[in-house]
């Protein structure tokens, strides 16, 4: 996501001065960055994570370069259906992250707040609203959002429809997990498919969707295998690598390209040494820019993030013979839907499989559904005897993350983990002596 600093500053300045006139330069930057990643990948991170980064940069740069080739979505939008039409899905959350590559998040957030958008709203949504409303970023022909996982979705898309005339399909995801809910959502997905047929003048080929779901099943199995290996081997990556993985799992899932990458990673990771540090299961977003967290989790042999719930947010095998129902079920059973006990249960399952030493939840500013349940999850983890740390901050707006606070909390927690290990080994010693 990083482009030469001077270019970044230049584009930022231009955008702030004349929003709308700097778009070509922004786009050029993305394209150059894609090229740089291919030619000069970050040596310090593993091959798999290098390839992942390049793949995501290509998705964004290539799609934005052809405005008729993509639709806006939110992170839970059904990219499998959209993919059947040869279109890509660019989620507004991820786009906000890419805009912050130009350090524009503060300008866009202030822009949105100054028009009256609530300061307590999620910063991803504020960045996006500011980027579009200020005219800095052009708009596509169509958009789609689910009501999962937050209130911001419907409101942001509706606001932009009114302001910028981008029509969208709204998928209402019921809270309850039962057959009636699945039927209700499956019908909406079918209607959405019909809408895409009309809008883009292409016939829907159901076989493509069957195939996407078969690939999706394989990808999910492969990813679980990769996570298992990542809890055993040191596989250098960065905070942002996990965001890229989340992006892939939501925007490219069901494509052969992404499955091949995960398979490559499974092979590649086996070449790396055994991991002997602390294994962290991460909950919710990662503030990729945050210095202290970077210093502890970017290519660090002592602490490794082995998996995250935002990457693996649904775990069930999907029935490819009933694709719309399968997709509906997947969305409804997503761990971000329904009650927090549902989420705690699924995180518990991940923990049982991967045996992390600790869980860290990052409460992102403005995300009520995540923050509101953090204390309940901590109780659940306590029952499982897994220490858990709750950090507060902002996934994108540096101004809402206080480094001193994060540093103190994190370091105290890591000290506590080390302490616990020491005591355990002392107890072992004691037992041996006795």
């Amino acid at each position: 996501m990083w482009i030469a600093d001077k270019y970044i500053d230049h584009v930022k300045e231009e955008t702030v001065e004349h929003p709308g006139e700097s778009w070509d330069q922004m786009l050029l930057g993305f394209k150059l960055n894609k090229l740089r990643m291919k030619l000069l990948p970050k040596k310090e991170i593993s091959k798999g994570y290098q390839k992942l980064e390049t793949m995501m940069m290509s998705l964004v740069a290539d799609s934005l370069g052809r405005p008729d080739s993509y639709v806006w979505g939110n992170i839970f939008a059904p990219c499998e259906i959209i993919g059947c039409f040869g279109l890509s899905t660019l989620s507004i959350e991820c786009l906000s992250c890419y805009f912050s590559g130009y350090h524009l998040e503060d300008y866009f957030i202030d822009y949105a707040q100054n028009t009256g958008i609530a300061p307590t709203l999620c910063s991803y949504h504020k960045t996006f609203v500011g980027a579009i409303d200020s005219g800095a970023v052009p708009v596509p022909e169509y958009a789609v959002t689910t009501s999962l996982s937050c209130d911001g979705n419907l409101n942001t898309f509706r606001y932009l429809e009114k302001r910028k005339g981008v029509p969208f399909t709204f998928l209402d995801v019921p809270y309850r997990d039962d057959e009636a809910s699945v039927d209700y959502l499956a019908q909406q997905l079918k209607d959405f498919t019909g809408e895409l047929e009309r809008r883009f003048g292409k016939k829907f080929d159901e076989e493509k969707l069957h195939s996407a779901i078969r690939i999706e099943n394989e990808t999910r199995r492969a990813l679980m295998e990769f996570f298992r290996l990542q809890s055993q081997r040191y596989y250098p990556g960065e905070l942002i690598s996990h965001l890229y993985m989340m992006m892939g799992m939501h925007l490219l899932i069901g494509t052969q390209e992404f499955l091949d990458l995960i398979r490559f990673m499974i092979e590649d990771i086996r070449k790396y040494p055994k991991f002997e540090g602390k294994k962290i299961l991460w909950i919710h977003l990662l503030p990729f820019y945050q210095e202290t967290l970077q210093s502890y989790f970017n290519t660090n042999q002592k602490y490794q993030i082995i998996a995250s719930d935002i990457i693996m947010d649904s775990m069930e095998e999907m029935d490819d013979t009933k694709p719309f129902h399968a997709l509906a079920k997947k969305i409804i059973r997503n761990l971000y839907n329904g009650s927090y006990s549902h989420k705690a249960e699924m995180v518990g399952k991940l923990a049982e499989t991967l045996h992390p030493d600790a869980v860290i939840q990052f409460c992102h500013w403005g995300c009520k559904q995540s923050s509101g349940g953090s204390i309940l999850l901590k109780e659940k983890m306590q029952e499982m005897d897994i220490p858990m740390l709750i950090l507060d901050g902002d996934g994108i707006d540096r101004r809402n993350s206080h480094d001193g606070q994060i540093k103190t909390r994190l370091e105290a927690f890591l000290e506590m983990l080390e302490q616990g290990e020491q005591e355990e080994s002392e107890e072992e010693e004691q037992k041996k002596i006795c």
Binding site: A118, D151, A180
Partner: protein, 555 residues
Amino acid sequence: MLGYICKYAPVEIFESMGVQMERIEPDVTNFNQAEIRMHPNICSFAKGVLEELMSGDYEGVILTTCCDSIRRLYDVLTEEFPDKFIYMLDTPRITKDAGITLYEQRIRAMIREYEQFSGKIFDEETFGKYLKSREEEQQYALKNSALNIGIIGARANESIKKILDENQANVAFDLTCTGLGRKLLYDDQAVMTGYVRGLLSQFPCMRMEQAANRDELIRRFAGSVDGIIYHTVQFCDNYAYEYAWLKDWLERPMLLLETDYTRQSGGQVRTRIEAFLESLGSGKQRPERKMKGDKTMYVLGIDSGSTSTNAVIMDQDRKIRAFSVVRTGAKSGVSADKALQDVLEKAGLKREDISWIVSTGYGRISIAFADENVTEISCHGKGAHYFNPRIRTILDIGGQDSKAIRLSEDGEVKDFVMNDKCAAGTGRFLEMIARTLEVSLDELGAIALTSTEKIEITSMCSVFAESEVISLIANNKEKADIADGVCHAIANKASGLLRRVGMEPDFMMTGGVAKNPGVVRAVEEKIGGKLYICQEPEIVGAAGAAVYALEKYGL
């Protein structure tokens, strides 16, 4: 008794079973329980409901999947009260047939669970009769003799209506969550389906897909009132989108009012509402004129702020005869008496010589000797216009709040915004930082001007900013540079406020912070224009109050 919070809750079903239904309206002073069980950044209404349920006598509560905070409230409540009927009713966002069918199924499932829980039986026929017997509730009430105000946005508690009532304004309609009278549909062919259809076809809230037709309904409702209060609740973000949209096309004076559902911010809420009503022109009667022996009439304006209490005596020719600035102590009434004595002495007058006294500022209601009180927003407008009629936009940074006010050519308030309930960007914030830097408040501004290195204070929150400053001190940064960084942080906040009212020149800055050259320079840089600052920026509000008093006499 069962509690409920949302208009989509099928209240009548339970009532037909003989259950008392109570709409939960939290009236709490703190979030002590909620802070332990939930994260602080949750909508304050949800936190309030939790407090209410912890203290009230409810057998349960019917929640709907209306928003993220309520979803999490449900999780906490089921943990906390395993023996109560805590029910989450999954309410569709789509109001077409598919939504109606699903909702009916959900409601029937809920009835079965409640029957099991309570042993009571639901009877569809009794329910039908009950529905038929209900009279339609009034949704709309205009009054000819009063200012008519409409309330839109997120749920508004009774205190807003009370303040409106005390100021003789009429609430013509309340379109917030449970504000409208219930609209019930009775269909004798299919009682339940008809009822559910009716529930889902109420005035749509922002979570519903069809909220787009809110625009048309709001346009119709708003057409007949004098002004709109657009209410939002802290950490409920859904309605701010609509405010941002409406303010561009709804041709009605509109006040954005954020509350947090506690009693803590009552004073600020009152100031905003009263200032809004004043800007809509609520007329008052003309008092009797007192003349001193020399045939001169005197009036007095007194501004009781959180940091200083300021008084101004003006004569009938609008000349300031004397003014006084005293520190506000622990009791605002005592400081007001002191300011009164001091200014009378300076002017060589007695209390009886003053025809009319107008009080303003946070402490305005506690000043017993005042004849009338007017909000500091209207008074700053008048005061600014008095000192310089070219002023269109005022930035007032006081001890505990900051505000931006837009004026018309005649000095009338056209729009205003205030900072939220926090110290960021206020005089109090500067005081905190000055203390941390071990300099006096006066020095802080002066040393900022000598800064050589640019330091950015990024934290929005003043508590965070203070620890950021401490980190900077620990990193051995120069005081002057830190001070300058702090001035710029205030300027950023201020420019946000100014932008929200429209940035029309000329600009004026008032309040104690206007004496701080560091902040003044930083604001000027940020807005790219000059700030007019009068010799005594602290007395602008009091001078405005005095002008108000003169206007009582048509002067």
